[in-house]
């Protein structure tokens, strides 16, 4: 009886879960073995998609672009931690400051990306106007093959540092046992030594969690590349997910796009596992 009731409660969620999550996860592996658009035609090609992938310059370039964009993750984490440490001092107006810091990440989305296109406008944008005031003529940020990536990274930092990561670090700081600091002080530890030997190790679980979720998110960057640069200029901001989008919509190569998704999946899994093992040996649970 209880079993029947349980399955009744589970049924709506489970049905949707099977059709839209579990099913697709299994299907994507099968689809990666086919070529075609999956509407008018598809044919079994075995591992040919993966063989092609290994030598696909567009794919490798998109992977490189994604990794370069992800290199901002540690910088962002350091800044989030710095903000959290500053807020953790007994500052006045803490709630107001936290709200301000959180604002960019809560509003992040297409509207903010449009805003940043305006900020990066070469002639009238905020960034170049500020640089001009310093006597420097800034580049056309989003249309410059070199500067497009740093521009997206800087925007990402602006959006992210006061968001989830900072809140998690703040929570982590609140959970550190104050007697640890007292003991360190008795041993004559200065501020840096206290940070190095008490704060940083105590936050290792938080750091591990933030890094893992940020990396998973970092592999899936799409919106800003679409709205701000359309993957350009000249493919400089074509991320892996943007490449998948192109394969689906422009090239209509659905099977091959599925193979790219599988590769993405494998990469995320590998990084997560590596991170987990490192975290364990480093003391994080």
């Amino acid at each position: 009886m209880e079993t029947l009731t349980a399955w009744l409660y589970l049924a709506p969620n489970l049905a949707g879960f099977l059709v839209f999550t579990a099913g697709p996860v299994l299907a994507v592996f099968a689809m990666a073995g086919f070529a075609g658009d999956f509407v008018s035609r598809f044919e079994w090609v075995g591992l040919a998609n993966f063989a092609e992938l290994a030598g696909d310059r567009r794919f490798l370039r998109s992977l490189w672009n994604t990794l370069v964009l992800m290199s901002a993750i540690p910088v962002g984490m350091a800044l989030s931690l710095a903000l959290a440490l500053l807020l953790h001092q007994k500052v006045r107006g803490r709630v107001v400051l936290r709200t301000i810091f959180f604002l960019p990440s809560i509003t992040s989305g297409i509207a903010l990306f449009l805003l940043w296109r305006w900020i990066y406008n070469p002639e009238f944008g905020l960034v170049n106007e500020a640089l001009r005031a310093l006597g420097v003529e800034g580049p056309n940020w989003l249309r410059d093959a070199f500067w497009a990536k740093p521009a997206l990274m800087f925007m990402g930092l602006w959006m992210g540092i006061g968001g989830h990561n900072m809140v998690l670090y703040l929570a982590g700081l609140q959970h550190i046992d104050p007697t640890l600091y007292q003991a360190a002080e008795l041993d004559g530890a200065g501020p840096w030594a206290r940070f190095r030997h008490v704060t940083w190790p105590s936050l290792s679980t938080t750091t591990f969690f933030i890094f893992t979720t940020n990396v998973i998110g970092g592999f899936q960057v799409f919106d800003q590349a679409y709205v701000m640069t359309r993957g350009g200029p000249d493919g400089a901001t074509t991320t892996v997910l943007y490449y998948i989008f192109e394969l689906l919509y422009v090239d209509q190569r659905v099977g091959y796009a599925a193979a790219v998704s599988v590769a993405l999946f494998a990469l995320v899994l590998a990084v997560t596992l590596a991170n987990w093992r490192l975290g364990r040996s480093g003391g994080a649970r």
Partner: protein, 350 residues
Amino acid sequence: MRRLLVYLPLGAFAATMLIPFVWTVATSLKPQEAVFSHPPRLVARRTSHTVVVEGRPLRVRPLDRDGAARTVRVKVLGSGPAARRVLTVPADDLRERSEPVLRLENYPEAWRAYPFVSFWRAYANSLAVAALVTLGQVVTSSLAAYAFARLRFPGRDLLFLGYLGTMMIPGAVTLIPTFILLKNLPGVLDALGGGGWFSRGFVLGGGVVGLDSYFALIVPRVFSAYGTFMLRQFFLSIPRELEDAARMDGCGSLGILLRVILPLSRPALATLSIFTFLWAWGDFMWPLLVTHSHEIYTLPLLLSSYQGQYGTHWPYLMAASVTALAPLVAIFVLGQRYFIEGIQLGAVKG
């Protein structure tokens, strides 16, 4: 000194976070030509001219002005009795004043500027889609979480492990199969006896079940392993003794869920709702993939389509962005507590 070392960087960060928002609002209120002024100004200014005729100030536009002449010809502006007349007045009587311009009309004009579908239709679409996704997630996740937290059945832990496992899978992985499923769904349903309704029917400007339908925007996003996981964790923390009283009163499991568990879980339900709503509201790639009829466009799609059309009319674009951002800021300021708690709750899974 030490305080300065804390407040100075905090202030600098706060300014960095706020300046782009201030700049956006400022741009949204400028006349188009003022956007291109050098040096840039936060608030556009315009020069206005008035002359005093018979004790009444009149707004005028100078027509010609000879440096040597003592008089100047002006055209009267506005809608008074003298409007559009050309007067010749002593040059000394002409007053010149610089005044700030806040062009509020940019907002209604920006909302009307979308050529394919009205701004408010897209707004309503976003609202409806996000609300239904949230409602669906809260209802189905609560039911499933209750089964996982309180009921005993064979295979429970294994199934829960399966749910947990999929939480690690990037959403991008399920994108393609779901897309193809939706693409083929109307044809399959018709072949099973739908009689063509599924492929040719229309619901509120979109298709019935396949791509380019409200179904595609809502249904695939309703079922969440994360919501189930989060609520299960919360339900587990509720003491079982609280349910015993209800059980004595003859409540069945549904009664316990509705009368005991859910009322006690308000914070968790609020957190899940806010996060789901914001995620569904801001989601871009999925709606971009599955829609092409303008009638079912969500707000992010509309905003991104606008930039191609009127990419250079920055005040309109910024006015539209501000309109889209305003409810998010309001939700955040009102529900901030749930955010902060929700984020910390989420970290438990790491």
